[in-house]
C-alpha cells in the first residue's frame, strides 16, 4: 500500500516588495527615436506634474526597454504603485505631441511578466 502523498501549502501575503509593470508608449504620429533615458525622464515628468517634487523623487527602475516597439518593464516599490500607475494614466504629451501609456501587465513577480495569456498564439497542434 502506498502512503498517501503529503503536500504542504504555503500562502504568502505581500510576498514581494516590488511590483513590476510592463508598459508601452503609443505616440500619435508613429514611432520616434527615444532612448531609455528619455523614456524614464518622461515618466518622471508625469510623476512631477501630478505628485510634485516628492512624487518625482520616488525611486523606480526601468529594467528593460525595447526601442523599436517602445515597450519597457518598470519596477517600483509597493507603496508607490498607485502613484506611478496614476501618473502614467494621466500623462498626455511628449514634446508637444499626443501620446499614451498602455499598461499591459502588472505583477508582483517578474516571472509572471514573461508570459501573457492574451498574446498567446496557438499553433496547429492545439489539441493533442
Amino acid at each position: 500500500m502506498e502512503e498517501p502523498s503529503k503536500f504542504e501549502q504555503y500562502v504568502y501575503k505581500n510576498a514581494s516588495v516590488y511590483h513590476y509593470m510592463k508598459i508601452s508608449l503609443v505616440l500619435e504620429n508613429g514611432n520616434k527615436y527615444i532612448t531609455d533615458a528619455q523614456f524614464k525622464q518622461l515618466i518622471i515628468c508625469g510623476l512631477k506634474d501630478l505628485y510634485g517634487e516628492v512624487g518625482a523623487s520616488f525611486p523606480f527602475d526601468l529594467l528593460k526597454f525595447d526601442q523599436n516597439k517602445l515597450t519597457g518593464i518598470l519596477r517600483v516599490y509597493n507603496s508607490g504603485l498607485v502613484k506611478l500607475w496614476s501618473a502614467l494614466t494621466l500623462l498626455g504629451t511628449y514634446q508637444n505631441e499626443a501620446c499614451a501609456f498602455r499598461v499591459m501587465q502588472v505583477s508582483p513577480f517578474l516571472l509572471a511578466l514573461s508570459g501573457n495569456s492574451r498574446e498567446l498564439q496557438f499553433g496547429d497542434q492545439l489539441t493533442l
Partner: protein, 204 residues
C-alpha cells in the same frame, strides 16, 4: 459633551449633510458644532524672521498664497487639490508671528511637510526671508490656545535673564502671572481664534 446620533439619507449627495449641520447649529445656537466626519487638524506655527520689524504688516492672505505655492511645488496637482478643499489660515498674529492653519485630518501631514519648503513670504510687494516653524498640532482651536499659553509662558521665562533693568524684570514677571485662558469662553462663540490676550510680549 453631548453626542447625538442622526441617521439621514445621503443618496442626494452632500447638500443634505450641510443642511443638517446648518439646521442643528441654528437650533442649538452653537457655532462650534462639528459633525464627526468634519475632523480637522490645526497646525500652530511660528514665523521666524531675522528682524522683527519686517513682520509688522503681515497678512493671512500672503501666508495662504505662499503655502499654496509651496504645496503645489512639493506635491503637485494632487497637493493643490487637497489644499483647495480643506486648508485655511484661521488666525495670524503679526506681532508675535503666530499662525494657525487648519486642514483636514487625513491630509495634514502633506501640508505640514510643505511648510519646510517655505523660504520667503511676499508681503505687500516685499519679499521677507523667513521660515515657518511648527509648534503644535491640535484637534481643536482650544487645545492650540492652551498650548500657546504654556509656550508663551516658557518664552517669557526665557526672556527674564536677558532683562537689563529691574523695571523690565517686573513687567515680564507681571506678564507671566497674567497668562490665562479666562477670556476665551466669550470668544469661542464666534470662533475667531484666540486674541492672544494672554501674551504680553514685551520686547526691548
Amino acid at each position: 459633551m453631548h453626542v447625538l446620533e442622526i441617521w439621514y439619507d445621503s443618496s442626494r449627495g452632500n447638500e443634505g449633510k450641510e443642511l443638517l449641520c446648518a439646521f442643528l447649529k441654528k437650533l442649538t445656537n452653537r457655532s462650534n458644532l462639528s459633525l464627526f466626519c468634519d475632523l480637522s487638524r490645526y497646525l500652530l506655527c511660528e514665523v521666524c524672521v531675522p528682524d522683527r520689524s519686517s513682520l509688522q504688516l503681515l497678512e493671512d492672505r500672503s501666508i495662504y498664497n505662499t503655502l499654496r505655492a509651496a504645496v503645489k511645488r512639493a506635491h503637485g496637482d494632487y497637493g493643490s487639490a487637497l489644499f483647495n478643499i480643506g486648508v485655511i489660515v484661521k488666525y495670524l498674529n503679526a506681532h508675535t508671528g503666530v499662525v494657525l492653519i487648519r486642514s483636514r485630518k487625513k491630509h495634514y501631514r502633506l501640508i505640514w511637510s510643505a511648510l519646510s519648503f517655505i523660504t520667503c513670504l511676499e508681503n505687500r510687494g516685499q519679499m521677507v526671508q523667513c521660515f515657518l516653524n511648527c509648534l503644535h498640532v491640535g484637534g481643536t482651536i482650544r487645545t492650540c490656545q492652551k498650548f500657546l499659553v504654556k509656550y508663551n509662558r516658557q518664552q517669557l521665562h526665557r526672556m527674564l535673564p536677558d532683562c537689563k533693568t529691574d523695571a523690565e524684570k517686573q513687567e515680564v514677571r507681571k506678564a507671566i502671572l497674567s497668562c490665562s485662558l479666562s477670556n476665551v469662553r466669550d470668544e469661542e462663540a464666534d470662533e475667531d481664534g484666540s486674541d492672544d490676550d494672554d501674551d504680553d510680549d514685551k520686547e526691548t
